[in-house]
């Protein structure tokens, strides 16, 4: 049940352009342990800005 809830929340967040923060932390820890990770708030703002930076936008 909690797994389903998590996935629904993840879907809703990705629908508005926010990828999973935990997955980002995991990626950095595994591949770039030397880099400093963004905080949750920094990550949110960075992705928010990236969503509307050029790109293709939304459909009709």
């Amino acid at each position: 049940m909690s797994a389903l809830w998590r996935r629904l929340a993840q879907t809703a967040r990705l629908m508005v352009g926010q990828p999973d923060y935990d997955a980002y932390r995991r990626h950095l820890a595994e591949h770039h342990p030397e880099r400093e990770a963004m905080t949750r708030a920094q990550f949110f703002r960075e992705r928010e800005a990236a969503r509307y930076r050029g790109g293709s936008g939304r459909c009709c």
């Binding site: 996935r7 929340a9 993840q10 879907t11 809703a12 967040r13 990705l14 629908m15 508005v16 352009g17 926010q18 990828p19 999973d20 923060y21 997955a23 980002y24 932390r25 995991r26 990626h27 950095l28 591949h31 949750r40 708030a41 990550f43 949110f44 703002r45 960075e46 992705r47 928010e48 800005a49 990236a50 969503r51 509307y52 930076r53 050029g54 790109g55 293709s56 936008g57 939304r58 459909c59 009709c60």
Partner: protein
């Protein structure tokens, strides 16, 4: 054999449902027959055709690293669960298009629209979405323009970019026109929509300073605010002192919307765009789900006939022109939409975890959008056809008054009493519903009908109507805002080819110039549509359909070239057949809009009629002065020029595609520019 048995039964069930839909005459058909037929078609198409394309035609390789694996960065490139990604992709492709097109197409009856939506999605739309997703996925998630440049050359790449920009302009104009038609002279509707601006700003401040990233919380606050705005709107509309502030003419609303577009797209995204995007996205998904549940629970009969006379005569009041080719460009999104090629080569290919997920996401999400289109068609067809026509016929026919409108619609063979029209307007809390073209108000009346049966009864109709209007206006305004930004970046790319200074997308002056050019472009077409005596939809929607289907043809031609380059030309019929059909439809429609002798269809014939009258010093309705006459002539010529431009884009891409296919046929090995599988690094 046994594993195919359930699917054979499903196919037979679908065929039986379609048989009922197609053959019953004279008595109302229940909407559930169409819904059931559509679901069977989707499931069978997904199980067999999507799998065939994925496994045989392009041979997806689950072992091959996708961009999300190869270039993983936790930000743009993230291997994502396929169900989560399906939601993301669906939310990105489904907008106002699949809701509006089918409503407009309903004037020909429910049958032509239903058949085209089903055949179109299975053979063209979903194929296009999947193929572009696949092609982009094999090339690091590059965009459509870059893919065309890589596989077909620099010149067709630039041509496609120009085409994509013009499509963006037309889409924004037509979406804004829908908002104008829905909110003009409607204080309740306009107040609720205006209220979303400060509401979104409060939400933006909340996520910026108080609780960054708390999307769930802030969305709940937003939805509560929206409901409050709808309830408050009723009092505003009833108040003698406040209502006039929110009762605007179409022209005033048009000017306001253009100004809004310019300002909103220059504000920081966190302040207005992002928070409203949450509301519009979640409301859209919620409203679509509610509509589906509502239709299934209510099981309404279709009151629109299967085929109306307009299908044969091509002289319908909503849009003019014969069934072929105009039905096939009126319903774009839901059957096949070229705009999806931009989405399928956007963020989605960078998030796919495995190549074997591509069919589920690319083909599957498009089937889902098609289901939305079917529901919109059903919603329009459960209304009394007399009400439907009175709402969608332009003011030139209805004269804007219940008595004249009822007489005009009854004369078309759909008897309706003036009292029915005023009563419907009263029930949904509006002063009038006549000539509210554009599809959104029609859909809102139908949704109010469906929702009020489930919750609240007739007393809630006005609330549900304004809820539906708000939901449509909200995501259209988000699209206008986001689209102006996207159009601005496209313009930067194009202008930089001539003036290198425009490469600087962050500079204030180039940014301002590109934004104003973009807003000016869609604002021009919007103003033209708002002041058009035929309601504007009649002019702009075909242009939108032609341009959107043209882009789909371009995407399918790209897919064909890629199949030839992969040395899989023996399967090329999968993309050649829909591409040929779309070239035929857009080509015929483009030529007809350009050169048809009937002024209701051909832009040049319309221009000629007004130019000749002006030369005689005569003023034709709706123009009031000679200056207005000249402006109408100019508008017609610009529209004709745009049509010619679209035709030239398709023709040029077609020539380049054929040349590329012939050239690679002479090679003895594949010549694609895919990232090789061995390029995989963790």
């Amino acid at each position: 054999m046994t594993r195919h048995l359930p699917w054979i039964l499903l196919a037979l069930a679908g065929a039986a449902c379609l048989g009922v839909v197609a053959s019953v005459r004279g008595e109302p058909v229940n909407a559930l027959w169409i819904v059931a037929a559509a679901l069977c078609v989707y499931l069978v198409a997904y199980r067999y055709y999507a799998r065939y394309i994925a496994r045989v035609v392009v041979a997806v390789d689950p072992a091959r690293a996708t961009p999300a694996v190869r270039r993983a960065d936790g930000l743009d490139y993230v291997a994502t669960d396929r169900r989560v990604l399906f939601g993301h992709h669906f939310a990105a492709i489904a907008g106002a298009g699949p809701l509006v097109g089918p409503v407009l197409a309903a004037q020909m009856g429910y049958l032509p629209g239903t058949l085209w939506i089903l055949a179109g999605v299975v053979l063209a739309g979903a194929v296009q979405d999947f193929m572009v997703l696949f092609i982009s996925m094999r090339r690091d998630g590059r965009s459509l323009g870059e893919l065309i440049r890589m596989e077909m050359g620099a010149v067709p790449g630039t041509i496609a970019l120009v085409g994509a920009f013009m499509i963006m302009v037309i889409i924004l104009a037509v979406l804004a026109l829908i908002v104008v038609r829905a909110l003009a002279e409607s204080p309740w509707g306009l107040f609720t929509v205006v209220a979303t601006v400060p509401l979104a700003m409060v939400m933006g401040g909340y996520t910026r300073w108080l609780r960054p990233g708390a999307i769930g919380e802030v969305s709940v606050i937003g939805v509560v605010g929206l409901v409050a705005a709808i309830l408050l709107g009723q009092s505003v509309a009833a108040s003698a002192s406040l209502a006039p502030w929110f009762t605007l003419t179409p022209v005033a609303l048009c000017v306001g919307l253009i100004g809004y577009g310019a300002v909103a797209s220059l504000l920081p995204v966190w302040l207005l765009l992002a928070p409203r995007d949450y509301l519009s996205t979640f409301l859209k998904i919620g409203a679509i789900a509610a509509l589906a549940i509502g239709i299934v629970l209510l099981a309404p009969p279709l009151r629109m006939p299967a085929l109306t006379d307009f299908a044969a005569t091509g002289r319908g009041p909503v849009w003019a022109g014969p069934l072929f080719p105009f039905l096939f460009i009126t319903i774009a999104c839901g059957a096949v939409s070229g705009f999806h090629a931009l989405i399928a080569s956007g963020t989605t290919p960078k998030l796919i975890a495995s190549e074997s997920d591509a069919a589920f996401i690319g083909y599957g999400a498009m089937l889902m959008e098609s289901a939305v289109a079917i529901m919109a068609l059903v919603a329009a067809c459960i209304l009394d056809p007399g009400i439907y026509l009175a709402m969608n016929a332009p003011a030139a026919i209805t004269a804007g008054d219940p008595v004249t409108a009822a007489a005009a619609v009854s004369a078309m063979g759909f008897p309706v009493a003036p009292a029915t029209l005023t009563e419907t307007a009263r029930q949904v809390g509006e002063t009038t519903i006549i000539s509210r073209a554009g599809g959104a108000p029609t859909l809102a009346v139908a949704m109010a009908e469906i929702f009020s049966h489930a919750i609240g009864g007739p007393a809630m109709k006005a609330f549900w109507y304004h809820f539906a209007i708000l939901f449509e206006a909200l995501f259209i305004l988000t699209a206008v805002d986001a689209g102006t930004r996207a159009g601005r970046f496209m313009l930067h790319d194009l202008l930089a080819l001539a003036v290198p200074r425009f490469r600087d997308t962050r500079g204030f002056a180039p940014g301002l110039v590109a934004t104003l050019l973009c807003v000016g472009a869609w604002g021009f077409f919007l103003y033209q549509g708002v002041t058009d005596p035929l309601g504007g939809v009649n002019t702009l929607w075909p242009l939108f359909g032609i341009s959107n289907q043209m882009l789909a043809a371009v995407a399918l031609l790209l897919a064909t070239v890629v199949l030839f380059r992969m040395k899989r030309a023996r399967y090329a019929a999968v993309t050649v057949v829909p591409a040929a059909w779309l070239v035929l439809c857009t080509g015929t429609a483009g030529v007809m809009k350009l050169a048809h002798p009937d002024p209701a269809i051909g832009f040049l014939a319309h221009a000629r009629r007004f130019a000749e009258a002006a030369a005689r010093g005569e003023v034709l309705k709706p123009a009031k002065t000679l200056a207005e006459m000249h402006r109408i002539v100019l508008n017609d010529r610009i529209d004709a020029g745009l049509c010619a431009l679209f035709l030239a884009v398709v023709a040029a891409i077609l020539v380049y595609a054929v040349r590329a296919c012939l050239a690679v046929r002479r090679l003895d090995r594949p010549s694609v520019s895919e990232i090789p599988p061995s390029g995989a690094t963790a």
